[in-house]
């Protein structure tokens, strides 16, 4: 673009929406400063697109060259997104079977049977807890990603979502983990079993849509909420922030223990110990629900704060 057309007010007005859109890729304070500078220097708005684009490219390149980003992806985001996917697929599979059982095969005669209600209640509670714990693990993962250094948090968040979706494309993600662990031990793989859930997977809704709905509700939405809360937690005292990060990291460790095929990583004595201490495992699951306690504490904290402070 030549200097004459760059200074033309009409060209400037036409360029401004593009400048605004491009500046959306910058961090909020920087966006504010850059747009302010360009508004002040309104004569030069023609070159504004190149200016903002240049800054965006520089910022993006700097993030991609940051070793911390790749270390975080390799050691945190990749394993966590894969585990969350594997657990979400298992949960969605169980949910699909129960939904098919009760919704697609509904029989009013069953409602008169006390045993039917008893079993339905048991399944609803157990499946509800499973879903809630998965949502808490996803929230914890989001919280940890949100607590990463500012420079890499956006790229890490995007990579987390991309990896989640990519891993979810894999058919039978938990099966892949288990087969990998079995091969690590040099054990022979057993014969493949017939698909007992063929009537469920034969239904397009349960095979295609149901798992994605489960991924969105139980993993992606809680993870985004976790990232947002991590941002807000910056206002808390540093001791409190350490407690929250420790809780999130512990929650992900507990997720690892409950991941499909985890037992294969352990020796026989440890596996036996885990088998004998199922109650301890249940307590650990309860600890995974720390986001619930966090929100309760946040609610009571707000209520207890004086109005003058709230107004500030």
């Amino acid at each position: 673009m030549d200097g004459k057309s760059a200074d033309d007010p009409m060209t400037s007005r036409m360029n401004w929406p593009i400048v605004l859109w491009l500046s959306g890729f910058l961090e909020q304070p920087e966006r504010e400063a850059v747009l302010g500078d360009l508004t002040e220097d309104s004569k030069n708005r023609g070159g504004a697109i190149a200016d903002v684009l240049g800054l965006v490219v520089r910022r993006r390149t700097a993030v991609l060259l940051d070793l911390r980003l790749w270390l975080t992806i390799a050691f945190v985001i990749l394993p966590v997104s894969y585990l969350l996917c594997a657990i979400a697929q298992t949960t969605a599979g169980v949910g699909a079977v129960y939904s098919w059982m009760y919704l697609n095969n509904w029989n009013w005669a069953l409602t008169r049977n006390a045993g039917f209600w008893h079993l339905l209640g048991e399944i609803a509670v157990s499946f509800g807890i499973t879903c809630f714990v998965l949502a808490c693990w996803s929230w914890s993962a989001g919280f940890l990603i949100g607590r990463l250094p500012n420079v890499i948090v956006r790229a890490s968040r995007n990579m987390f979502i991309v990896l989640l979706v990519a891993a979810f494309q894999l058919d039978d993600a938990p099966g892949h983990i288990i087969r990998f662990l079995i091969s690590l031990h040099g054990l022979p793989l057993g014969p493949s079993l017939p698909d007992y859930n063929a009537p469920v997977t034969g239904n397009v809704f349960y095979r295609v849509f149901f798992p994605w709905i489960a991924l969105a509700i139980l993993v992606i939405l809680p993870a985004f909420s976790g990232i947002r809360q991590a941002n807000r937690s910056l206002l808390l005292a540093w001791k409190m922030r350490i407690v929250l990060v420790t809780a999130a990291a512990s929650s992900l460790l507990i997720m690892l223990i409950h991941a499909p095929g985890f037992g294969l990583l352990l020796g026989a004595p440890q596996r036996d110990w885990l088998g004998r201490n199922r109650n301890a495992m249940q307590v650990l699951l309860l600890l995974s629900c720390w986001p619930m306690f966090y929100f309760i504490a946040l609610r009571f904290g707000r209520r207890g704060r004086p109005k003058a402070v709230m107004a500030q």
């Binding site: 304070p29 850059v34 747009l35 508004t39 002040e40 200016d51 240049g54 800054l55 910022r59």
Partner: protein
């Protein structure tokens, strides 16, 4: 064999430090950019300016913060810049080095290369 690593600021960093020092309390993105363009006669890109400002801040040579929003900027804030004591030291070190190495050199007729 020993190598002596000389850590000096770059010329663009020097331009920013000098502009910010000259502008004093009015040093911020647009004003520094305008000073550099006036002094060098060349266009200064916002990308180069802000990324170099970040680098200078990481090195501790400048301190930056967001100011109050102003009407002339469409209600947007300025990123104000202040040169720190370390920044002043580094800039004066750079200036002295350039002055020393330039002593006795005449660039007017490009004599050194044509002789």
């Amino acid at each position: 064999m020993y190598y002596i690593v000389i850590k000096m600021i770059g010329e663009f960093e020097y331009l920013i430090l000098s502009s910010a020092a000259r502008l004093g309390t009015n040093a911020y993105g647009a004003s520094i950019r305008s000073e550099i363009e006036k002094a060098t006669g060349r266009r200064c890109s916002i990308g180069a300016l802000y990324t170099t400002l970040d680098r200078l801040e990481v090195k501790g040579f400048v301190k930056t913060w967001m100011g109050e929003p102003t009407a002339e900027r469409g209600g947007r804030s300025k990123r104000l810049v202040q040169v720190t004591a370390t920044g002043v030291k580094e800039a004066s070190h750079f200036f002295r080095a350039i002055a020393r190495i330039s002593k006795g050199v005449s660039w007017t007729a490009n004599r050194l290369t044509t002789r």
